[in-house]
């Protein structure tokens, strides 16, 4: 069944997916009511010779009802979403102690700057790796997202992460991976000829492996 989301591997993936299924159920119900209603009406009230339609210009109670119900529904949906949105996208929302990275998009590659051993960006031991983002599991990381030439969009389906990278702006993106493994990074905003192959990988390590990996990188 094509309406089930692929499994998510970040801390907030669950919340996003939950909201999605809520919306799916709500809209599903509306969908069934309307489409079924239309079909039933088409058969029940189809033209029969000598019959005249029921002459009415409407009914205010009905209008009020089908104004109120959608209104209430969307307000509830709005209330449910607002908090999560701020938690994920708010500019100061990255959890304290997140590991900093700088990710710079350009035609057609992602350049990841690592903080190195001292865990500070902009220090001497920073190093850059092309198209490879290595992060530790169960540990929030925050990417300072920027772009050199045109607008790109940093998309990690498995983490439910998407954020445009805009020239002249630095936009923080945070997430916390919940399972080790390799996941794909895609560009989601048309950025030119090579847009379709602007692909990179996230590798989620265990804490130890990650330390090891950083050490190795810093070594050479």
């Amino acid at each position: 069944m094509g309406w089930i989301l692929p499994e998510g591997f970040s801390t907030f993936a669950g919340d996003i997916d939950f909201l999605y299924y809520v919306v799916l159920v709500v809209t599903g119900i509306a969908f069934v009511i309307v489409e079924l209603g239309i079909v039933i009406f088409l058969f029940k009230y189809r033209h029969r010779p000598g019959q005249k339609a029921h002459y009415t210009h409407g009914n205010n109670t009905a209008e009020v009802i089908w104004t109120a119900i959608p209104a209430v529904t969307v307000v509830v949906l709005g209330l449910m979403s607002g908090g999560l949105w701020a938690e994920i996208k708010g500019h100061e929302s990255a959890p304290a102690g997140s590991i900093p990275y700088a990710v710079d998009g350009r035609q057609f590659e992602w350049n990841v700057t690592y903080a190195g051993l001292d865990g500070q960006l902009g220090t001497g031991d920073d190093f850059v790796v092309r198209n490879q983002l290595h992060v530790p599991v169960n540990q929030p990381v925050v990417l300072q997202l920027s772009a050199e030439d045109v607008i790109h969009s940093f998309f990690v389906p498995a983490f439910r992460v998407k954020q445009d990278a805009v020239p002249g702006m630095t936009i923080p993106v945070w997430f916390e991976a919940t399972q080790t493994g390799e996941y794909e990074i895609a560009c989601a905003e048309l950025c030119g000829l090579g847009h379709y192959r602007m692909r990179a990988m996230v590798t989620v390590h265990t804490a130890e492996d990650f330390q090891q990996w950083v050490a190795d990188q810093s070594a050479d």
Binding site: W3, T27, F31, I38, L42, H54, A86, A186
Partner: protein, 589 residues
């Protein structure tokens, strides 16, 4: 207004002894201009469709040669295999043609022109010559846009949204001429739309026949009127933005160039501040036509006429404060994101009101399932899907995942194809007899409808699932990504359905052309409708009405107990009907 009555009267006299050229080419008759727009935009629609299946081929069968694609030049598809740069042009131009040169002119240019004067009982537009110009400006714009395909470097390739800075600098798209031509054509087309809107608004306000008060206007005219207001106020924003972008490309200004203090997001804000009203420009008229057609074929008054109007007003108003929902992931201030989410969700309310009122209109009706009705009902059924899928994207956290995926592609096609285009099939079939004096063949019409309905859903429904799978839009080759591999089968299926969908449209073209020459002759009022346009011959003479029509009631008096027949024309005087005096229109001021 005695003074202005005079010049019209003799202008009227002249028209009859006109050369062929003045009558059919440089005509100032709103009916001819409407038909000119109809032919032009049907061509645009066909081009848009061709572009669509060409790019679908690459997605369905990545890297395989298009059958017969060998005719395409080396610069586009060597050996029939699409190049990425050409694919980007295809995506861009498919969107451009469908939005600006097919759906928009079909809804506004064609039916705005044809229906407004006829349905309000006016002899012509307020400014017939201006009206002629709006066509003769749109035509060069179309030609210019087509010419882009033959330019060195290919046609515009930055998407129909032309996001800066990608669109601003040739070195980033590899396209220089095409991108400029695109902007010029859009700016020129904008002038045509603005002239048209000025004309429509003036006409509806000033030229309504005696007794045609605001609340006796058919919903189609209300829709076209509100749409014209949107066109009038939204298009100039696009023109302004297009000019700035054009200067960025040509004389080296820095509006959207981040390297020199420019703001890439400024383009998106301006574009979508035009773009969202544009979305309603593309759907409101369809809602209007469908209201007329469903009421007529249910032989029943529109359910909640007034709330239909207020719903459209609400949609028009909200349309100005929701543009940010196109930019949730753009880096826009997240606080704005929340605001735009709320306003966006609110649009569900008027949309729901309209949907339930359409159902209410069918409820306890006496429904005739002719071709216009089939398409009109399909509009409601499909528009609902498009509306509901919109909720997913309005809910910002969910949007994070589905933004820029095929889910949005499915959404826009459920609104623009399932919505606008089905409404257009309905409207064209419904008013064809008035336009050409002949009926369209209803057998072919029904076959065309059912096949279109089937292939349409087979094409676009699975796109939701692609989106759920995370399939990005506007990518040349999905097989680049591991997580998209499993979706390839679905892509192929969609492509095949799309090809069948386009093939089916040949039936419509066939029906349209054949009926023009030897369709069954149409009576003045073949659908037994109440509208003023049905009181005059099909096709109407120049000047539309032999005598000034006088309106006594609203447009939806079907199955009224007052008369034997199940319809009661707006112009039919029953004893007890007041002659409209100034008093009757007092409410207008």
């Amino acid at each position: 207004m005695a003074t202005s009555a005079l010049p019209h009267a003799d202008a009227h006299g002249h028209e009859h002894d006109l050369s062929f050229i003045r009558k059919y080419i440089f005509s100032t008759d709103h009916k001819i201009i409407g038909i000119q727009f109809l032919l032009l935009s049907l061509i645009g629609l066909f081009i848009g469709g061709l572009l669509a299946i060409t790019l679908r081929w690459q997605l369905g069968f990545p890297g395989e040669a298009i059958p017969g694609g060998g005719i395409l030049p080396e610069t586009m598809a060597p050996g029939g295999i699409l190049l990425p740069e050409f694919y980007n042009s295809l995506v861009t131009m498919h969107g451009t043609f469908m939005v600006f040169f097919a759906i928009m002119p079909l809804l506004v240019g064609v039916f705005g022109n044809y229906l407004i004067p006829l349905k309000i009982g006016a002899p012509d537009m307020a400014f017939p010559r201006l009206n002629m110009w709006s066509f003769w400006i749109a035509l060069p714009a179309t030609v210019l846009m087509i010419s882009g395909f033959f330019m060195a470097g290919g046609h515009a390739a930055a998407g129909w949204t032309a996001y800066a800075p990608l669109s601003a600098n040739p070195e980033w798209t590899g396209v220089s001429g095409g991108q400029k031509v695109w902007l010029l054509s859009i700016a020129i087309l904008g002038m045509s739309s603005i002239l048209g809107a000025t004309n429509y608004i003036t006409t509806v306000v000033n030229l309504r026949a005696p007794g045609m008060t605001w609340f006796r206007l058919p919903l189609s005219i209300w829709a076209l009127f509100l749409t014209s207001i949107l066109v009038l106020l939204a298009i100039p924003i696009l023109s302004g933005a297009a000019i700035m972008l054009y200067f960025d490309q040509t004389i080296g200004t820095h509006f959207f160039d981040a390297l020199d203090g420019g703001q890439p997001l400024l383009w998106q804000h301006l574009f979508w501040y035009f773009g969202h009203p544009e979305v309603y420009i593309l759907i409101l008229p369809a809602m209007g036509f469908v209201s007329d057609i469903i009421s007529n074929n249910s032989r029943k008054p529109v359910f909640g006429y007034h709330s239909m109007i207020f719903a459209m007003l609400a949609i028009m108003g909200l349309g100005w404060i929701v543009w940010g929902h196109h930019m949730f992931q753009s880096g826009m201030n997240p606080a704005l994101g929340t605001t735009f989410m709320v306003s966006t969700l609110l649009i569900a309310v008027p949309s729901a009101i309209k949907t339930f009122n359409w159902m209410g209109t069918m409820w306890r009706g006496n429904i005739r399932l002719n071709v216009p009705m089939l398409n009109a009902v399909a509009f409601v059924a499909m528009f609902v899907i498009g509306g509901l899928s919109g909720v997913f994207m309005a809910v910002t956290p969910v949007d994070i995942y589905i933004h820029d995926t095929y889910f949005i592609v499915a959404h826009i096609h459920y609104v623009l194809f399932g919505g606008s285009l089905f409404a257009l099939f309905a409207a064209i079939t419904f008013w064809y007899p008035k336009m050409f004096g002949r009926m369209m063949n209803s057998m072919i019409g029904k076959v065309h409808f059912w096949l279109t309905f089937l292939f349409y859903n087979l094409t676009f429904w699975p796109m939701h699932n692609l989106g759920i799978g995370g399939h990005m839009r506007r990518i040349y080759d999905p097989s680049e990504y591991e997580f998209l591999q499993p979706l390839q089968g679905m892509n192929t299926f969609i492509t095949i359905s799309a090809i069948l969908l386009l093939t089916t449209q040949m039936l419509f073209a066939l029906n349209f052309i054949m009926s023009w020459f030897n369709g069954e002759k149409a009576s003045d009022n073949p659908w037994k409708d109440n509208g003023v346009e049905w009181t005059t011959p099909s096709p109407p003479p120049h000047g539309n009405f032999p005598t000034v029509p006088i309106v006594y009631r609203g447009p939806y008096e079907f199955s009224s107990p007052l008369v034997e027949e199940d319809f009661l024309p707006q112009t039919r005087k029953l004893e007890g009907d007041q002659e409209p005096g100034a008093a009757q229109n007092e409410g207008d001021r």
